[in-house]
């Protein structure tokens, strides 16, 4: 065996041990956290947030979401599928959790809440997600948001008043505060009947809901 073979071989073995150990221990530490999170039922105030579905629904799915977050956009199809598959059995509750790194996340939340004052929260919510790529990179989203609000038929004067008003802002602040006290640190974070769902893929949300329905 040449010296080079030995040196390269030793470096390779050390690297593999280091990386393998790193991934193993980090994931293990994480799965311990997961199991304790899954076991406990989070105390969520179900009177808050924007809802779709009946209050007496057997399964309540709470989503902490940010309208500017790409992963939340990616989760939309599965959330919509839940809405369509279980119209009576599942209540979907949307809670705001705009992340600081998304510069327009909070503005989008304010628009959505103000639209909610006119009963059009979900319409603007869907529109904002559909057009996320178009407004995320803009420096000023005001005109874009006003166009969207016209498309869903909002009264512009009332919208502007509500967007500037305190009720809308304090609602978002209380969503964020609730999320933080629950330990939400990323979006989207889902709770199914109070159980935090650790998603490997978005299908896991469907599975968690199906399990709760069987109980």
């Amino acid at each position: 065996m040449t010296t080079e073979t030995k040196i390269l071989g030793v470096i390779l073995i050390l690297t593999v041990v280091l990386l393998g150990g790193g991934v193993f221990f980090l994931s293990k530490g994480l799965s311990n956290v997961k199991s304790t999170e899954e076991a406990s039922v989070a105390q969520i105030d179900y009177s808050r947030g924007e809802k779709i579905g009946s209050d007496s629904a057997k399964v309540k799915v709470v989503e902490f979401s940010d309208l500017q977050c790409p992963a939340c956009l990616a989760a939309e199809p599965i959330v919509k599928k839940l809405r369509a598959d279980y119209p009576d059995q599942v209540q979907l509750i949307y809670r705001h959790f705009p992340l600081p790194q998304h510069t327009h996340g909070r503005e989008a939340a304010i628009l959505a809440e103000a639209a909610g004052q006119q009963g059009k929260f979900w319409e603007i919510h869907d529109k904002l997600f559909e057009t996320q790529a178009e407004w995320s990179g803009l420096t000023d989203v005001n005109n874009f948001f006003m166009d969207l609000s016209k498309q869903v038929g909002l009264d512009e004067n009332k919208l502007k008043q509500d967007m500037a008003g305190n009720p809308v802002k304090s609602k978002i602040d209380s969503d964020v505060a609730d999320g933080q006290s629950l330990g939400v640190n990323s979006t989207p974070t889902f709770y199914v009947n109070g159980h935090k769902v650790v998603l490997q893929s978005f299908d896991d949300l469907n599975t968690a809901v199906a399990q709760e329905l069987k109980k």
């Binding site: 470096i11 980090l26 790409p70 992963a71 990323s186 979006t187």
Partner: protein, 145 residues
């Protein structure tokens, strides 16, 4: 053009770099929070797309298998007796990896419409490995080996 020995060391070093990148991505696949994404911010979108797994296997595992294979080949390559077959395997592996990388980068650009920094970095590393393999072969060819 570079000598066969130098190119082999380059392949080894870049394979280790690739191993770090792929292992980091695999770790990020096991968590649900946002991925650390230095440029572009498309990592979450790419991870949550249907293309993040192939036949149920997370793509970073394929990356780890490739870089580990290439690193092992370059360790064995320093044994003179088996160099010919090793060189063929290196070329085969690198071409396959770059072709797969082209496919994944195409998906990112035109289907997912978001770029994942770590995936692009891994693609660049695989291209460098292929260049090192090809340039060593050219050197051998020019020397009449």
């Amino acid at each position: 053009m570079i000598s066969s020995n130098l190119s082999n060391r380059l392949i080894f070093i870049f394979s280790l770099l690739g191993l770090f990148v792929s292992s980091f991505l695999l770790y990020e696949y096991t968590i649900t929070g946002p991925i650390v994404c230095p440029i572009g911010g498309g990592c979450d979108t790419v991870r949550s797309s249907v293309y993040s797994h192939i036949l149920g296997i997370p793509v970073p595992i394929l990356g780890i298998a490739f870089y580990l294979g290439m690193a092992v080949l370059s360790v064995v390559h320093s044994q003179k007796s088996v160099q010919k077959i090793i060189k063929k395997l290196q070329l085969l592996g690198a071409v396959a990896a770059v072709a797969f990388g082209v496919y994944l980068t195409f998906l990112e650009a035109f289907v997912i419409k978001a770029f994942c920094f770590w995936c692009v970095l891994s693609f660049i590393i695989s291209v460098i490995i292929l260049l090192a393999v090809v340039s060593a072969r050219k050197e051998d060819y020019d020397n009449g080996n």
